[in-house]
Amino acid sequence: MTKSNLSRWGFAGLALAAAASLVEPALAQAPAAAPTPPKPNSGDTAFVLFSAYFVLMMAIPGLALFYGGLVRAKNMLSVLTQVFVIVALVSIIYVTYGYSLAFTSGGGLNSFIGGFSKAFLMGVDTNSTAATFSNGVVIPEFAFIIFQMTFACITPALIVGAFAERVKFSALLLFTVLWVTFIYFPMAHMVWYWAGPDAIADAVKAVAAAGTDAAAKAAAEAKLAAVKADAGLIYSWGALDFAGGTVVHINAGIAGLVGCIVLGKRIGYGKELMPPHSLVMTLIGAALLWVGWFGFNAGSNLEANGTAAMAAINTFVATGAATLSWLFVEWAAKGKPSLLGAASGAIAGLVAVTPAAGFAGPMGSIILGLIAGGVCFIFCSTVKNTFGYDDTLDVFGIHGVGGIIGAIGTGILVSQALGGSGVPDYESKPGELAVAAYEFGTQVWAQIKGVLLTVVWSGIGSFVIFKIVDVIVGLRVTADREREGLDLAEHGERAYNL
């Protein structure tokens, strides 16, 4: 009884490959036996496409406004431009080589990174399919790609909040190119690359079919081992991450923390008033993030079924709980319940429930939200002030901290005893999704290992990249330009002419 499918995204295209390889021997033996490869259905396809659109809406205008509202008016456009252009830039990188690096086999480096076999989306057409998490269910590979692409687009955009109001635009673009290439795509590969349910089922069935013939059995078992080994490192550790808590949130949170330390504090930080210039924009952003996050979390199920619906409910109530949690803790601690508190709590809840969305139950998700709201509040209000780093928009305090709470919480709340769905198992009943035995220590340790690797990879990698960019173009604008505001200094525009 082994575990597999510990993360939620399949190896796009392998389904097709597997299907093709099935057809060949079948033809060799008897035409009548040829199994037809599974076809996408319109419901799942529509579901994944609209989920992708929603994730894009999270980034633009959602995240752009959430961040933009929090900076001073003179830097509003700089933040909006950064998020908008990052999305544009990464979309091109993604179809050029990003998808291939994340979701193809990387040969000798396969534990860490994929290869270039699908660079320029070579070989992908309207008939290509990608595996989901159910045996025999596939979606068009193009749908899988666009969905994945939106994740790659939003992740570097999350980071900009940490050093907003002082970063040079050209530096940010260069940073983005390097960061997605050397940090994001490897992380995506390590967490989400696997062979898919049908490949595993086929290999398991082949072992059974091999019967008593020792040689055939050995060959089949070797094949099964190879199929199972064809996965990213964190995936192979058994770490669960439904929708990207490690790849997206911890990854961005750590990069942000490193970035804000490398760039240094804003001029006047701690001395001048720097209130958010428009909490209205921040509210719009938070609301669109909440709405769009259903695409992110439920969409990560890749199929429109009961699990997707449960992921959606979990996303909703974890967010509700974290909103209330931050609000009431702040009310008690600071005397007033603020809109920014409610909105920040909501994001903390969304972050925390991301890895858990399809694994925890609704009550577990509420608890996760309650914890995330309170703990992130403490990080953003107390810990940050204590250490004195200037993480402008609390990328670390919300995405980093919330992501870690969620990643470890997932390892606990997945337990069926706590209302979770249990750890998926594609092997014991090949062709069906079974539930593996839950072992607290093993699972939580797998989660912690995933978190640690993410922290180390993103921490060291981002640091090196920041330093390289600083040498090449300089990370920070001059003091004069920072005073003037990045909108005029960097972009030649003003946000408001009322």
């Binding site: 008033l273 209130p275 603020s338 920014l340 920040s344 953003c380 209000s381 107390t382 002030n385 609390d394």
Partner: protein, 112 residues
Amino acid sequence: MKIVMAIIKPFKLEEVRDALTGIGVHGLTVTEVKGYGRQKGHTEIYRGAEYAVSFLPKLKIEVAVSASDVDKVVAAIAGAAKTGQIGDGKIFVTSIEHAVRIRTGETDIDAL
């Protein structure tokens, strides 16, 4: 001629305007300003950061009047703008040496 400049609480504008028209003053200019004085401000909290904001929104009213009307005007403003609570504001009177109505070129008292 004089300019009567008054700093008042924003929600008193309509009453002051009415008081002035009541005594025959039909022109004035209003500016949004922020005032600092005895009236205490408030604290704003944004995530970790607490800001003590001591500047409060006020309106500045400027009325050009003939020297003979000054007392009447000051009294009218003072009466209408008063709530009796701290922060009601101030009235200052300065001289103006010359006034022109741009449209007609009329000057001094005729310009008002």
